[in-house]
Amino acid sequence: MTLPTSSASANAAEETISAGTALLEVREVAKQFFGHQVLKNISLQVAAGEFLTLLGESGSGKTTLLRIIAGFEQPTSGQVWMSGIRLDVLPPYQRRVNTVFQSYALFPHLSVKENVAYGLRVTKVAESEIPARVADALRMVKMEEFADRRPGKLSGGQQQRVALARALVNRPKLLLLDEPLSALDANLRKQMQGELKSLQRDLGITFLFVTHDQDEAMALSDRIALLKDGALEQIASPREIYERPATVYTAQFIGQTNILHAEIRNGVATSGSLCWPVALRNGHALFSLRPEAIRLAAESATMPNPVTFHARVIQQIFSGASEQLELDCDGLRLRAMIYSRSPLSGEQEFAFSSADAIPVRNSKEPG
């Protein structure tokens, strides 16, 4: 089991995109269902070999976008291209794309082996080639010993593996995964995340992964495309999306944050009794300040450009390695996370680096 280290491969992915070798290109795709705008002009590119996650709450349109790419839905407008071929005009069975379904969708009347062989059989792969490829695919997901079972006799995790093998055996250029881990319990999900990630890296297949679980998205992805109400909120590497969220929604959806309403005058932002230097024009602005960016002033010696402030500790919740603090800074409520230490109380001096107050904007108004 390997844990993902996303930054290196993310950089590689972004470079290949700028070099113009996007495997998949979604152009201005919109979808209406009964007058309801489910997707609003989504454009994005996926590089060959990339692990891109479509992240969003239910109703954000992430599954609809996946289904449009797979061919189960038609976009109302816009186009989908893959390696120079226009996909959205092709029926699903003519696209070199395979899907791992949320509920696995294994054929109940076929054995595990026959399920995996299905794609090869129906696309007229030479019969002599099939057993070896099926065995390979089953070995890849560690399901060789279940080859002759019916899917009904398998656990959820095992069905998940078969579904993966059934898709991968066709050597798709692009694998679509629709919340494939959501039906598994927490431990198994963690394990499958690791396996998925290493499989993807070993095979070099491009993964387009849909989830509503931000931790899963952070752990697996080269890049995350965050969707909100059918619109693309931000697309960036997990590190960037966490450290430099573009919008209030992104900052709040990915991790926890404090949103500061600030007034900027002559290079100084003021929010309540907090002031810090910024390089922005005068006016109203919003900032995201992560709880872990706030530290005790006494422990901020190494911090660049520290902004110090006094605040009262209202609540302290011990959670192992860290402590969650609820602070009151002259009526401004702040959440902070510091390394565990003895209980704090009353007025304390805190500090954050002005570079950690990230300017964010409100999401674009729908329509």
Binding site: F72, P92, H109
Partner: protein, 280 residues
Amino acid sequence: MYSRAYKFVVSLPPLLWVAIFLLVPYALMLAHSFWLVREGVIIHHWNLQNYSKLFHNPVYVEVLFRSVRIAVTVTFLSLLLGYPLAYYMSFHAGPRKDILYQLVIIPLWVSYLVRGYAWKTILGSEGVLNGFLQYLHITKEPVSFLLYSPFAVVLMLTHIYTPFVFLPLYASLEHIPRNLVEASHDLGASPCTTFLRVILPLSLPGLLAGATFAFVLSLGDFLAPILVGGPSSIMIANIVQSLFGTAYDWPLGAAISVCILLLTVTLLYLTERLEKRWSF
């Protein structure tokens, strides 16, 4: 849990019902099939004469074969009509599904006899169909083979039993998860391949149940031959009916009934086993 007295009271009515209306009549029928009729009186003398009469008289064997032939044809035609209908409604009818379903079901509420007489009106030599054919100058004289022929029996039975084939088929098609169809397309199978490799195999239990309905019900039918069949399409149930009626040979009628019962029970047992094997 429940007391013994409670269980006894609850299970008594169905047990009594089965005993009085099924087991006792079956036992009487079986007993009669080994008795004799002499000069209009049933003699309680155990023997196998009825059965040997049955197998040595070519009339009975011929009628039995004809009945099976008609039942098989009806089953086949009902499937031919019912499957495409069920498939279309389940997969492609969209919002029209409910109204189409009602249209299929409504004829079931109409009396069997009414539908039989309707066919008489349509097929007769003065009937609607002949009138139409003559009006179009396709035929000069009324076509006579339409009514009072095995053709008419098959037509009427197919009309009556197609909904019986349709219902279990439709239920089993509705039961197929739609993402299996998507998965099949996703793996590169065309709609036709998907039908043959996924939808058809998964609908086999429903197909079998429907076919069993059509076969068993039409094998035991005696009204269609009376209404539209004529002498050339007498079926086995008509013989039983006349043996119990005008001919007054209950023992022979019982022997024939036992044979049909054995045939039907064997068939039901086999299809039950197949259905179990095909259900997932």
